[in-house]
């Protein structure tokens, strides 16, 4: 039982990371039809940029973090929207999706060549201790991840549902045409979702990197699980991606513990196929969310 609780907490922690990535992915998809295949690299890169800023400028951690985060928001929030999505979307969804694959290669290889091919330590803001809860050894880092991720997701949920700006954004996601007629600055709202996506990626990156270490290839698994989380949960704003992320995280953790460490990746994949077969709109999705 104690073991089970430990795995459960670990699963929720990684699940929260997947949820952060999946929420950003879903937001961007809904507002701009951008299927961002570089989403995993979006989570990999902020930590690398922070370490790079510290290494190159000799800056203290806080300054390095500030520079790295600002650079990421600027390049992969605003810049991604203006330089990649805007000129590409007029050619259609397919070229844009392929462009994000090209972007993922550039980000991954760039991190490998420009930073390091080896995994690097990333400073943790909580001690790497474990505490005993009901006889289970639980890492403080996992607790911190869960707390931070849920705080951020709660904040986002409040922003989307409770503020005027957030409601405008939601309207844009659900129906851009009507939103435009209602006088909502659709373009600016779409840009906002890209900035939020970048911000969520930063949070995920800073939370996961102390555990996974900062490495150029981290994005592969995180990206894959973010996509699975988004589909399993259903493309239904924040809620679906959150549930999807947690389900995938817990399934992954349990699979590693009780089925096979080698094939832990395979179990969420099976989950994906089962969901697509039985409930293609996702666990939380309503039938037919999107216009054609």
């Amino acid at each position: 039982m104690a073991e089970f609780i430990a795995y459960l907490i670990a699963g929720i922690a990684t699940g929260a990371i997947y949820a952060l990535a999946a929420i950003g992915f879903t937001l961007v998809w809904q507002t701009s039809q951008t299927i961002n295949f570089a989403q995993g690299e979006f989570v990999m890169l902020p930590a690398v940029l922070v370490l790079l800023a510290i290494k190159l400028l000799g800056a203290p951690i806080w300054l390095g973090a500030l520079i790295g985060i600002a650079a990421f928001i600027l390049i992969f929030g605003v810049g991604f929207k203006l330089a990649v999505v805007d000129p590409m979307i007029r050619h259609g969804v397919l070229p844009l999706a392929i462009a994000t694959m090209a972007l993922s290669i550039i980000m991954k290889e760039g991190a490998k060549d420009g930073f390091s091919a080896e995994a690097q330590n990333f400073p943790s803001f909580v001690p790497t201790q474990t505490i005993e809860v009901f006889g289970a050894a639980i890492s403080l880092q996992h607790i911190a991840i869960i707390a931070c991720a849920f705080a951020v997701i709660g904040l986002l949920q409040w922003f989307v549902g409770g503020t005027k700006l957030g409601r405008q954004m939601q309207a844009t996601a659900q129906n851009p045409m009507v939103a435009r007629i209602l006088g909502i600055p659709v373009e600016r709202m779409v840009l906002l979702t890209f900035v939020i996506n970048a911000a969520l990626a930063i949070v995920a990156s800073v939370l996961i990197s102390p555990i996974y270490l900062a490495k150029f290839s981290n994005g592969e698994v995180i990206g894959l699980f973010a996509f699975i989380a988004a589909i399993v949960g259903g493309f239904n704003q924040v809620r679906g991606a959150l549930v999807g992320g947690l389900v995938v995280g817990i399934v992954d953790s349990m699979a590693a513990a009780y089925i096979s460490t080698q094939y832990r990746l395979a179990v969420p994949l099976v989950l994906l196929v089962v969901i697509i077969l039985l409930k293609p709109e996702g666990l939380m999705g309503r039938k037919e969310e999107r216009r054609v």
């Binding site: 299927i35 295949f37 990649v84 000129p87 590409m88 050619h91 259609g92 969804v93 397919l94 070229p95 844009l96 999706a97 392929i98 462009a99 694959m101 090209a102 972007l103 993922s104 290669i105 550039i106 991954k108 290889e109 760039g110 490998k112 060549d113 592969e220 894959l224 996509f227 699975i228 589909i231 080698q262 094939y263 990746l265 395979a266 994949l269 994906l272 196929v273 697509i276 077969l277 293609p280 054609v292």
Partner: protein, 340 residues
Amino acid sequence: MTAPATRSDLSPSPRLTRLPGLGMIDGTFLTLAIGAAILWFAPVGMGRYGTYVLSLWLVMSIAVMGLNLTLGYAGLKSLAQAAFMGLGAYTTAILTTKFGISWYAAFALSGLLTFAVGILLGFPALRVKAHYLAFVTLAFSTLIWLILRNEQWLTGGVFGISNINRPDFFGIKLFGALEFHRFVVVVTFILAVALWWLIRSPWGRAFTALRENPIRAASLGIDTRAYTLLAFAIGSAYAGFAGALYAPLVEFIDPSPFSLSQSFFLLLMVVAGGAGYLLGPFVGALLGVVLPEWLRFAGSLYLIIFAAIVMLLLIACPQGVSGLMERGWAKITGKRGDAR
């Protein structure tokens, strides 16, 4: 080159109405035949390595051709072309080294297996929405990678399989680089012509109709699901064929060339060459496989440069290099043939 029917094809442009006609299509066949003839003699005096690079180019072209059918003609994103290629390569390697089955049988089985797996993967995904195929193939890609690495007893794990024999051709041994290259030229030619024929056939027309306007295609009585599924499965089978040639060409296989990144890379090659152009894959593979071999000093930077170029191409000319050449040709002949 068979030009993809773009939106402006609907506008009454005298040149474009003639472009996809019979003359142009025979030009494609002619180009294939002349290209095969040149490549048959090309490696003379090029040395083992140069010959190897040329053969590799053709083998990758086969995989890109298959993906071009999936992406360029049927408009589907498959993120598992490298995984399918791996499936073919390992099937061939295992069957020929461990069971002593002839390469030809292994080649056919590799194609058959990848075709069947394509149907199995595509069926549930395409039942929902076309872009679900992207995620299912993404998952499949990872799964194949796991199996190749973990099932040591079958695949040799990270050490791979070595000593893969090259086949012989009616008693003629193809162990030499040049002999095997010529064999690859012949197989590539046959597969390219088969695809050329397929695209021209009513089936091929149905594929193109699907990409251009799926709703209209459906209303015209085309069973869209069956055709997209078929396009994906045939595209995957081409990856299997490519893998079956790749294994004896390299004579040693390990999981690394069949990773997810490679699948992304193959997609970029399709786009770089020109999605929906029959000869596009050869251009794409040239840029993606041969050029980095010549520009070895660039190392892994080449991947970044290549990806960046593809992104620029996507912005400026989504029809890729083939599209650019078509535009250039239209400029030279002084006719308005601009695709968009």
